[in-house]
């Protein structure tokens, strides 16, 4: 059977590793090592540690904000491509698609050079006499993290929203126009409900990606601007407490799934 090779590969290198991760989250850690003595204490610690909770809510706040921002920007962009500038649709979509696959780390690094004290943005602001001294708050701040996240997530938001909009039959819109519906009414009562799935997919992509992000806060944020992901990394890289790291990661993903369920339901109500 032709489906067997990819299925076996997928199970062996995706499903099994995640099962191992779940197993490790119940292991006991002591002295930079861990053993197969099963315990629930990693989960207790992951749920009760106040510092972890603070990092979690910080991450959640930024993830919600960034995802909403990405959806709005991508929706407007898709709308323009479909209905305002259809002649330039191909080339503009092509550009966004190409930018999606280019330079995750390079982009983050670029924002460092642009937002730094001797960076381009500060240089420009000083030369325009908008500020007298280079501003320090641009880099190593929430601002830098949010800008970089928006920068690489917007293409990811455009993809599902644009393809949902593209699947709407033009005949439907023509019929509505012929029956005298205004453009705003068409956008609200036809296009929005029919792109609801795309909106929810875009939101989910961005929300998941931001909740589990760690590179951006590490390279662009200050010491207090870190995400939950950095705490997971800390357990895996520094303390070697893999069981605790695994428990934090798994509680994180469980909470993300639950929240996405709720948010998706809310979005369906709003876009109905």
């Amino acid at each position: 059977m032709l489906l067997a090779p990819p299925t076996i590969y997928f199970v062996l290198l995706f499903v099994v590793p995640l099962i191992v991760l779940v197993a490790y989250s119940f292991y006991t850690y002591s002295n930079f090592n861990f053993s197969a003595k099963l315990t629930l204490s990693n989960y207790m610690q992951a749920l009760s540690n106040p510092a972890l909770r603070a990092f979690y809510f910080r991450t959640l706040k930024i993830a919600l904000g960034v995802s909403v921002g990405v959806v709005i920007v991508s929706y407007l962009f898709s709308h323009i491509l479909m209905y305002v500038l259809p002649g330039a649709r191909r080339i503009l979509y092509f550009l966004v698609l190409v930018s999606l696959f280019g330079g995750y780390l390079v982009r983050i690094y670029a924002w460092r050079t642009m937002l730094g004290a001797d960076g381009i943005l500060n240089g420009l602001l000083v030369r325009l006499r908008l500020i007298s001294h280079p501003a320090g708050f641009l880099l190593n701040s929430n601002f830098a993290i949010i800008v970089a996240l928006l920068n690489f997530l917007i293409p990811l938001g455009v993809l599902p929203i644009f393809s949902a909009m593209q699947n709407i039959s033009p005949k439907l819109l023509e019929a509505a126009t012929d029956l005298g519906a205004s453009r705003v009414r068409i956008a609200r009562t036809i296009v929005l409900p029919l792109t609801s799935r795309g909106i929810r997919a875009a939101f989910a992509f961005c929300f998941i990606a931001t909740m589990a992000e760690w590179v951006t806060p590490q390279l662009l944020g200050g010491p207090l601007d870190q995400f939950v992901g950095n705490q997971i990394l800390y357990q895996f890289g520094q303390t070697l407490d893999w069981p605790l790291g695994a428990a934090i990661a798994l509680t994180l993903i469980a909470s993300v799934v639950v929240m996405l369920g709720i948010i998706s339901w809310l979005l369906r109500l709003v876009t109905r």
Partner: protein
Amino acid sequence: MTGRRTRPRRAGARTAAWVYVALMLFFLFAPLAVVLAVSFNPTANMNLQFTAFSLRWYHQVATDPLVVAAFRRTALAAVVTAVVSAALGLTGALGAARLSQRWRTVIFTVPLVPLAFPALLFGIGLASFYHAIGAGFSIWATIAGHVILALPFVFLVFAAALERFRFSLLDAARDLGAGSFTIFRTVTLPLLRPAILGAMFLSMAISADEFVIAFFTAGSQQTLPLVLYGRINLGVNPGLNAIGSVLLLITMALAFFAARTSVLELP
């Protein structure tokens, strides 16, 4: 009624739309343009005050054995990822194409899971897996993970190509007496060539640009993104712009070809 397709839009709306699109694309491409521009600046500052055009940093990077070794590993990972994921994705898509509608819905949902799955969790999962089975960390461990990341994209590209594929051609070839292998080599493969090329370019772009999985599984056999990361942590070094630019040009070129050959399908 009027018979007009759409009412004419005010010129102002079109201008506003162009401004919006231009600002968004500027925002998306500005960091990439800056890294490229600064990489040709011979002085070691990061603002765009150009003194001259120079390949100084490229020369420095090209003679750095660590960077060259990382470049080789990145290329190896990209090529192997492309070949393995294309082979697996094509067999999977061919298998899925002849399933009943109900099973196809299931098969088409599965690839979406790794697509949306956070790289951090997959990374620590893979690291735990290699640790549990006693396999060390290496570039091959990373490649095995990259195949998982590329597989959903490759599968979806092939599935889309097979939607338009005329399976009756295979039956015709069989009626004319061709064997399974001959049919695959002379009918299936040539017809799917654009999709295969597109999927391979796409997997190469994904692998070459990938950082998180490599971070957790490559060990000391660093890829180019890992070298970049290590040096960013050491402090700002203008040679980084050259490494970043090389990485960027390669992945963008691959993504460009991928989009041109197969992914971009607009009416």
